[in-house]
Amino acid sequence: AALKDGLFSQVSAALKEGRVTPTELCHRCLALIKSTKFLNAYITVAEETALKQAEESEERYKRGQPLGILDGIPIAVKDNFSTAGIETTCASNMLKGYISPYNATVVQKLLDQGAVLLGKTNLDEFAMGSGSTDGVFGPVRNPWSYSKQYKEKSVPKSHSEDEESNWVITGGSSGGSAAAVSSFTCFAALGSDTGGSTRNPAAHCGVVGLKPTYGLISRHGLIPLVNSMDVPGILTRCVDDAAVLLGSLAGHDPKDSTTIQDDFRPFEVPNLTDVSKLSIGIPKEYHAPGLSSEILALWSKAADLFKNAGAKVVEVSLPHTRYSIVCYHVLCTAEVASNMARFDGLEYGHRSDMKDSTESMYAATRREGFNDVVRGRILSGNYFLLKQNYEKYFVKAQKVRRLIANDFVKVFRSGVDILLTPTTLSDAAPYTEFIQEDNRTRSAQDDILTQAANMAGLPAISVPTALSERGLPVGLQFIGRSFQEKQLLTVAKWFEKQVQFPVIQLEEVKRHDNGVFQHQKSASFS
């Protein structure tokens, strides 16, 4: 039989054949996590429970009864998913030390299928940010900062300038998960995606980032940012793996009333040989201010790739895209204000020592527990929800949201199958440069290409495409129709195969390399 595609299939085969054991895999990942600690990708490493899970997996393999393709595969989970027995912090003082008594549905599903949970990955506080720089545990560093590719191309301004000031951000807010996958410390990771938080860091870290259709994957246990837009995100090294994870996570959850009623049928991504029946839409509004010429060029090149292969490539218009950011700002902050109301120091989490009155305890707890970004969003959200402002802001933003969603409906109705857009405006910025701007400005700029899909609830995927002139990854985004993940991933896989995105060359990984971690051939698209 032909070897199935994807890293999971290959590792699974290796595990079945005994070429490697789950405990060996787990040990290697743990060792790599230690040697890449400087990336700050993980907040909590669950070494003990991970090894125990690996041992249990090993027993199953010995009995010849693995639970499936994920059995024994080490994964990481963003630290805003609840994990029973393992701290869940949201990178916030508010939840430092908080141990959830239950597993998020997605975590439970992974564990039920034998996956080994290595730990919890770093993020912006409560997932509010686009750099993974604004968490209480410090910024995440992009593994590509330390790659051979980046080091070769970046010319230090002076000899005294070391790596320390040159490292680039991962994007966010699921930067820890993206860095973890990108640096081979795990085989896949869960992120969350509210305005682009999975796709953005995936693009910057050179991994695949999938945001499924809203309602396809349960949010139960995901500590919410914006309930009406949050979706658990999937970060993997290839499109096939994303499909495997999607299949293992998707479907109705009685604990989340917004999930689809029907069961989801897992699928393998077919190898597309003929793209001539495809219609790819290029939304002109995504030629946004601030889009780097380099990315623009890559985007055109990708469109040409489809055209040359026989696909129909058409320019389309999503006229309300330009209102997306401001609309998102109102809806997001309003829900944030509401969702954050529960953090009062009474039932769980941080509680201030202030004892003058219940009210003063609330105030001090929330002041000490939340960073400026979170507090700022709570403040503006409450402002938008005031009786006198509700119609003016919230209701209006909801209407605009409907218009944005309708733009997509119209375009898809016109016969377009998939939209092709850039994921980010440019490649990853150096940290020192990134923090020049405040979180709000950064989020507004960085989410611009990704959050319309959240507004409309549509599935979208960022596929690593090429390296920039600076030797940093660039991703392009495909947006599909609601619940048409199979079509979306099929196109993404075809594209992935065409571009042959290069493998990161990291000293740390080389030291631990065993052939299992890497399967992609080095080649270049640009």
């Binding site: 949010r219 917004t258 109301a341 529960r342 929800l385 005031l386 919230f394």
Partner: protein, 510 residues
């Protein structure tokens, strides 16, 4: 309320227009008159324009359900503190609400029973405020589109204390909304601590909003009593006020005829129907007095102090609250179906069919009363008394079935003898030492003329002792039988005549 409901016992108050029993806050309390538009003529002090009181009610009824509105936690009164709290109830991060079908059905039933139109699509909203027993910092409620709207409730009350003069009135129901109950806070002032019990947090409530169609405490009390009976008949709420399953807030204002409604106050903390009547009447009287003295009414929340019998301003937390309502994003719109709109291939576990519920509604109290009057020929006011007491109508019907006595006569024994005994001893019908079987037995003896009615009362007095004797045994023991045997009677008479020779001679001689 027992026997005659408090509503009836104190009926007529609103027309009398006085609150003389209520102590005034500042010296002597004047007695201003007011009148109900529905009642007869207004009575006013000489030359004074009459006041029209306006009373609206907001009633929270706890839904009778095994589990809470959005979580699987059990619902139980007086369970150990914090023993019925799910992760969702404690608002642990990441938890989501899952709507309890039973609570929706209870609300639909109640809506139908109150002649409401049921919204086929209703929505949930978040109402925000910080409070220790509200763990999420918001309550999930139905502010924009509630489950039921535009209903009405008919209730009766008597005039001038006369049971025979009953009037029926109607109050419009603005809406019924589903919402979460809060937990309970216990303030320990000596240790300056607040203890929080979340057992009640998240229990399903139906908020029934009654339009300001009432004008006095009696009307409000009668309306609430009728609602309580309806809820209990439906089983949608146990509606026991003492256990907090039925909580009533009253909105009260007064104005002169032809003028717009006055500023209203909201009276809270009312925990019995009797206190509701008192609180409303006190508040009406207070407002009239305030205005007559040149004062103004503040739009404020006041609490009823049942010991003092008056309303007092509640500590206003931070002035006017802005609840910052927002759609609840974790719950899709609540869609209900009727026979017409029901999709063919829908899983019946997943849908609620309004028509199906409608067809299965039990007889409501008003229908039951009509049936009792019609079937047994009893007076309408008796039917009210029968229904006001839990189990009494059933007791009555059971006695009727087991005797030859006419129901019209049976009702007297039920209302005068059984009920007053139960009242005196604070017993429920179920706790009665005399079963319907025993009472029927006794009434049969009376009906067969085996005992006199005076004797029957003596037997009943014996039966209350609950010593397990049958009425017949008591009759025999105490020789209470009426004589049926002519010879025996003649023999007794002869013996009397023989024993009183002189008297007989005197009588014969004239």
């Amino acid at each position: 309320g027992r026997g005659l409901s408090p509503v009836m016992r104190e009926a007529g108050r609103c027309r009398l227009g006085r609150a003389g029993t209520v102590p005034g806050r500042r010296g002597e309390r004047g007695q201003w008159s007011w009148f109900c538009p529905g009642a007869s003529r207004p009575r006013g002090g000489a030359g004074l324009a009459p006041w029209i009181p306006v009373v609206g009610l907001e009633i929270h009824a706890q839904i009778s359900s095994n589990s809470k509105l959005f979580s699987g936690s059990q619902v139980q009164f007086a369970a150990p503190p914090n023993s019925l709290v799910s992760f969702f109830d404690a608002s642990l991060p990441g938890t989501l609400p899952v709507l309890n079908r039973r609570c929706v059905e209870a609300a639909v039933m109640t809506g139908l029973a109150l002649n409401c139109s049921i919204n086929k699509k209703s929505l949930f909203d978040r109402k925000h405020y910080f409070y220790a027993d509200l763990p999420a910092g918001y309550q999930i409620t139905q502010q924009r589109v509630p489950i039921a709207v535009n209903g009405s409730l008919s209730y009766s009350l008597c005039i001038d204390h006369k049971m025979s003069q009953m009037v029926t009135k109607t109050v419009r129901i603005k809406q019924i909304q589903l919402e979460q109950d809060s937990g309970k806070s216990l303030h320990d002032d000596t240790r300056s601590q607040t203890l929080v019990d979340l057992n009640r947090a998240g229990v399903g409530l139906m908020e029934v909003v009654m339009e300001p169609d009432m004008c006095c405490g009696e009307e409000a009390a009668a309306a609430v009593r009728e609602l309580q009976l309806i809820l209990q008949t439906l089983g949608s709420s146990q509606a026991v006020m003492a256990e907090g399953q039925l909580r009533v807030d009253a909105n009260v204002s007064v104005h002169h005829p032809g003028e717009p409604y006055g500023v209203r106050t909201e009276v809270k903390n009312i925990n019995s129907i009797r206190f509701l009547a008192k609180a409303v009447d006190y508040e009406i009287q207070r407002q009239i007095e305030e205005l007559e003295n040149g004062g103004t009414i503040l739009n404020e929340t006041r609490a009823f102090d049942s010991k003092l019998g008056c309303t007092v301003p509640m500590r206003d937390k931070e002035g006017k609250q802005d609840y910052r309502f927002m759609p609840e994003p974790n719950l899709p719109p609540l869609i209900l179906y009727d026979a017409k709109s029901l999709p063919a291939n829908m899983n019946h576990q997943q849908v609620i069919n309004i028509d199906w519920i409608h067809e299965r509604l039990p007889d409501l109290p008003s229908v039951k009363r009509e049936k009792l009057v019609e079937q047994y020929g009893i007076l309408p006011e008796h039917s009210f008394t029968l229904l006001n007491e839990d189990g009494l109508a059933e007791f009555f019907e059971s006695v009727v079935k087991q005797t030859h006595m006419k129901p019209k006569k049976v009702i007297g024994w039920i209302l005068n003898d059984l009920l007053s005994y139960l009242n005196q001893h604070s017993l429920t019908v179920k706790e009665s030492p005399v079963s319907s079987f025993l009472l029927a037995d006794l009434l049969n003896l009376l009906e067969k003329k085996e005992i006199s009615s005076t004797a029957a009362k003596r037997v009943l007095a014996e039966l209350w002792k609950g010593e397990g004797k049958t009425p017949l045994e008591i009759v025999k023991e105490q020789k209470l039988e009426l004589l049926q045997d002519q010879n025996e009677l003649e023999w007794i008479c002869q013996a009397v005549i023989d024993g009183h020779e002189n008297e007989v001679i005197m009588m014969v001689l004239g």
